[in-house]
Structure formats: structure tokens, C-alpha cells
């Protein structure tokens, strides 16, 4: 449905994008990941026909973005990074204007505006002035605006940036609903968003393609891989390391507790939980938690993008997926 073939873009001497290629199939929802300034917005602007690329090709629904911009624009709903609102208009006036701009006119226009407002949860907000809306509602209107001409492809640039957690959950739920019958490209630097919404993601950094694939494939990029957390008493790290299969062991300083229990991060290729427990008992130590941890998308992302230039809000660890109490 969406095809980018070695896209590149320079602004004067600055190279913003270089050789970026990816495809998004019909009905897919794909996350577009990258640190700030990676070229996410530039790519989306090229796909929507706002700016032309310096090189490469892009096709949406079979139409070339450069040669048939009108056909492409009719099929794409676009939510820019900051919702493009006129602060002096009311919600109803604005949505009607955008619908007409996209060729939905007359009776169909009011019907469509009503339907979209209902879908996005804006019912009863027709008369509100856009300039007085909260950030969450501005974002909702921005999303509604992108849906008015019922486009098969949605391109959303950081749809949840700057929202509070409740608003984020709301917008995400909306996007998940939309994904059922739309092809969606969603740019973000919030990784948990990708994990809850997108089965597949494309990672770019400094204007280059870094990786693309399913989340599991991306997680395989994490250098550390999966690891085991163990919390023990009365046994040294050296003794623990003797357990079969253990490759590396290091204490986790932040969870060092005053009650005499110590947590270790154990790296291994195989499941070492049982071997670790046996080793602790053999050494007459005590164990109160053993937990297998998967590599997180965040770790994978940091390793893909490289340490420099990464500005990410850290996400709290997920609750233990598979815990063993001893």
C-alpha cells in the first residue's frame, strides 16, 4: 500500500534523509521509530506530498507521490506533528472546511463530519472554539481531520506527544480501532506505544534506515539478549557463576537492599533458572526470587540507534512475565 524506495532529502548542504526504503502492506499498522531529528517527520512529509524528495521514489496505493500527487492526497489522511488547527474557528466549522477541501461536499459533508465526530468522541463539541481546546482534544480534532475523506492510508506523526497518560490511552485506543480498516504509519519515539499498537516497526536514525521487522525481530538486535534476575542471600557472585550455562553475572546496584539480599543480572544463552537455584542450595544460600526477563524493545532500540543522540523517556520495566518463587 505504501512503498518508499531509497528516498533521500537534503536541505541545502544538510542531509536529512539518505536511502530510506520500506514497504507497508494493506491493512498493516507500522511503527516509525527514531530519536528526535532522525528524519521521521521529513519522511512523512515526503509521503504526503508536502515536500518533494531529493531522490528516490514513493508510491501510495500504486500512485507515485511526485507524478500523481492529487491521487495520492485523496487517499492519505495526515496528522502532522502539531495538529493543523485554526484557533479562531469552531470544531464544526473547521471539520467542515477540511472535508470540503478534500472534496466531500454538500449533504455528504455534514453527514461525514457528524460520523467522524461521533467516531472520535467529539460529539457535542461542534461549537467549541479550537483555540480554547485542551491538548488532548486538539489532538482528537487533528485525528478527526485526517479521517474526513475516509482515506485508506493514515499517516500519523507523533499522535500522542505532549499528552497526559489518560489522553494517551484514549488516543491509542482510537488508533487501534482505526487500524482495523486502515493502513497506518505511526511515527513516535515512545516505545511502549509501538509495543501496544504495532506488530511491525521501521527504525531510522540520522536520516538512515537502521532496521525494520516485527517487534521480535527488532528485539533480537539487543546486544544483551534475554537475561535472568536472581535475588539471593549468603552466596557470592563467584559461586553463582559456577552454575551451568551462566556466561556473565553482575550485581544490580539500584536494587541492593539493606536487608542483606542482593540482586544479580545473569546473562546466558539457555534457561539457567533451575541451575541457579540448585547452585544456591548447594552453597547453603537462600534465594527469594528468580525471574526470566526478555530483552525489551527499548534495549534493542538503544543498541540499534547507538548510544549517541538518543533521547528517550525511560519506561518502567514491565511486570515479570515469568516469575519463579523459591
Amino acid at each position: 500500500m505504501v512503498e518508499a524506495i531509497s528516498l533521500s532529502k537534503s536541505f541545502g548542504p544538510t542531509v536529512a534523509l539518505q536511502d530510506v526504503s520500506f514497504t507497508v502492506g494493506k491493512g498493516e499498522i507500522v511503527g516509525f521509530l527514531g530519536p528526535n531529528g532522525a528524519g521521521k517527520t521529513t519522511t512523512m512529509r515526503i509521503l504526503t506530498g508536502y515536500i518533494p524528495a531529493s531522490g528516490g521514489e514513493a508510491r501510495i496505493a500504486g500512485f507515485d507521490v511526485f507524478d500523481q500527487p492529487m491521487e495520492v492526497k485523496r487517499r492519505v489522511g495526515y496528522l502532522p506533528e502539531s495538529p493543523p488547527l485554526y484557533p479562531e474557528l469552531s470544531v464544526g466549522e473547521y471539520l467542515k472546511f477540511v472535508a470540503e477541501l478534500r472534496g466531500v461536499r454538500g449533504r455528504a459533508c455534514s453527514l461525514r463530519v457528524g460520523a467522524v465526530m461521533e467516531q472520535i468522541g467529539l460529539k457535542g463539541w461542534e461549537g467549541r472554539i479550537l483555540g480554547s481546546l485542551s491538548k488532548g482534544y486538539r489532538q482528537r480534532v487533528g485525528l478527526a481531520q485526517a479521517l474526513l475523506h475516509d482515506p485508506p492510508v493514515l499517516i500519523l506523526d507523533e499522535p500522542t506527544s505532549g499528552l497526559d497518560p489518560t489522553q494517551m490511552v484514549g488516543i491509542r485506543a482510537l488508533i487501534r480501532d482505526l487500524a482495523a480498516d486502515h493502513t497506518v504509519i505511526l511515527s513516535t519515539h515512545v516505545l511502549s506505544e509501538v509495543e501496544t499498537l504495532c506488530p511491525r516497526a521501521v527504525v531510522i536514525g540520522r536520516g538512515r534506515m537502521l532496521a525494520q521487522g516485527t517487534l521480535a525481530e527488532l528485539k533480537a538486535h539487543a546486544k544483551r539478549g534475554s537475561w535472568t534476575l536472581i535475588e539471593v542471600q549468603g552466596i557470592t557472585a563467584r559461586d553463582l557463576a559456577d552454575a551451568d550455562g551462566v556466561e556473565q553475572i553482575e550485581p544490580i546496584p539500584t536494587t541492593l537492599q539493606s536487608d542483606g539480599w542482593t540482586s544479580y543480572r545473569v546473562t546466558s544463552r539457555i534457561d539457567v533458572r533451575e541451575a541457579l537455584i540448585k547452585r544456591v542450595h548447594a552453597a547453603n544460600g537462600r534465594v527469594r526470587a528468580v525471574e526470566a526477563r526478555m530483552a525489551t524493545l527499548e534495549e534493542a532500540f538503544v543498541d540499534i540507534v547507538g548510544e549517541e543522540g538518543v533521547t528517550l523517556g525511560r519506561r518502567p520495566d514491565p511486570p515479570p512475565a515469568d516469575g519463579v518463587q523459591a
Binding site: F11, G12, R45, T48, G49, Y50, I51, P52, M70, K73, R74, V76, Y78, P80, E81, S82, P83, P84, L85, Y86, P87, E88, L89, E93, F97, V98, E100, L101, R102, G103, R105, Q145
Partner: protein
């Protein structure tokens, strides 16, 4: 194309009529008109709008760039230009719709001055033909100046800068009437032909001279075309 122009026009008119800016300029324009009307009638003793209309042309030079300054500058700053440019609408329709809305607002301002002909008709016997062509002349000036103001707005994303730039672009078309001061008398006549006031004279005499009409059509067209090109080229940078 026509549908899109109409949509843009409606939205622009709506934005004008809910913003205080339009009313401030409407008020200023009508105040100055009243002043020129009073002076014109008392000084010349004629039942005509000759003085009023000549002065309004110059007033427009300063007022119209203030009305057009927000068009593209504000859209760019607000991020709404992205909305317009990613909609399936030709760029020409956007430029034309916005220009038409400014000209329409000028039309409304001129409507506000209709009280003066009414006063003249009550107390005197004005020449309605001259009145009509004079108003057409004013409208012709509005068309040209709005196009130039729109062009200024397409060059920057700062409204105030766009407004001042618009005035700077238009000033030479007024100042050439003082050409004698700069170049010799031989040259002055040809330089003056670029000025706006020379081409208004026929309108004020009640004549529709095709050369003068063509001047204003070309003036408008050239600036609308420059606006179009400037918007198009900014996307490449």
C-alpha cells in the same frame, strides 16, 4: 478548482469576520474616508468624490498589506500550511481563494463609503458615471495591492514583517510620481507610467481606458503569479 477556491474563500472570510483586525482596519479606513470626503467637499465645493477617491488609493497602499499579511505567514507559523498543501487542491486555487477573500473584504470597506454618494445625491447633483468608474478604479487598485500583499506574505512566516514588506513593495508604485526629483524631465514621463496614480486618472474622469484596465490586470496577475512561484519554490528548500 472552483469548488476549492470557494471553500478557501469561505474560510478566509470567516476568519476575517471573527478577528478584530478586520474591524480595526475597517474603522480606520472609514475614518480616513470621512476625513477626505469632508475636506474634498469643503475645499472644492464640488458634488464629487474626486478628492476622496484619489486619497483612498494611497490609503489602500498602507492598509491592504495589513489585511493580506496573515494569509501565508500565519498559515506557515500555525502549521496549517501543511494541511492546505497535503489536501487534494491545486496551489492556484489556494492563492486565488485567499486573494479573492481580501478583495471581497475591500469591497465591503468600499460599501461602507456608500454613505458619501448618498449625501452628495441629497444635497447636490453628482455625475453617477464618474462615481461608478471611480469606484471601479478603487477596486482595481485593491485587486493589485492585495496580490502584492499576498506575495509579501508568501515570503516570510512573520506577519508583521509580511505587512511591512508589502508596503515596501508597493511604495515605488506611488513614489514614481515624484520622479522629476530623481531623474530628468525626459525620463520622468516614462518612469511615471509604472505608477498607479497615472492609471487611475482615466477612471476618475469617468472613462474606462483599456490601457489602464490592462495595467491593473497585469499588476494583479504578475503578483499572483509571483506568489504562486514563491510558494512552490519554498517547498524545495
Amino acid at each position: 478548482m472552483i469548488g476549492a477556491t470557494w471553500t478557501i474563500w469561505k474560510k478566509e472570510m470567516r476568519c476575517y469576520l471573527v478577528s478584530p483586525l478586520a474591524y480595526v482596519f475597517l474603522a480606520a479606513f472609514l475614518f480616513l474616508s470621512g476625513l477626505f470626503f469632508y475636506l474634498g467637499v469643503t475645499l472644492t465645493g464640488e458634488a464629487s468624490l474626486r478628492v476622496l477617491l484619489a486619497n483612498l488609493a494611497v490609503t489602500q497602499l498602507f492598509v491592504l498589506p495589513m489585511l493580506t499579511m496573515r494569509h501565508f505567514a500565519e498559515e506557515r507559523r500555525q502549521g496549517t500550511l501543511e494541511l492546505l498543501f497535503t489536501a487534494p487542491v491545486p496551489l492556484g486555487a489556494i492563492v486565488f481563494g485567499k486573494w479573492l477573500s481580501s478583495v471581497s473584504l475591500c469591497g465591503l470597506m468600499f460599501l461602507g463609503t456608500a454613505v458619501f454618494p448618498a449625501i452628495l445625491a441629497y444635497y447636490g447633483n453628482p455625475d453617477w458615471g464618474i462615481m461608478a468608474t471611480s469606484y471601479l478604479g478603487l477596486l482595481a487598485v485593491a485587486c493589485g495591492f492585495c496580490a502584492a500583499g499576498l506575495f509579501a506574505s508568501s515570503l516570510t512566516d512573520d506577519q508583521v514583517a509580511a505587512g511591512l514588506l508589502g508596503i515596501v513593495i508597493l511604495l515605488p508604485f506611488w513614489l514614481v510620481h515624484q520622479a522629476e526629483a530623481l531623474v530628468g524631465d525626459d525620463w520622468a514621463d516614462s518612469v511615471k507610467k509604472f505608477g498607479v496614480l497615472v492609471h487611475l486618472e482615466s477612471f476618475e474622469r469617468g472613462v474606462l481606458d483599456s490601457a489602464d484596465v490592462l495595467y491593473f490586470v497585469a499588476f494583479t496577475f504578475i503578483f499572483l503569479f509571483l506568489t504562486f512561484r514563491s510558494l512552490e519554490s519554498r517547498r524545495w528548500r
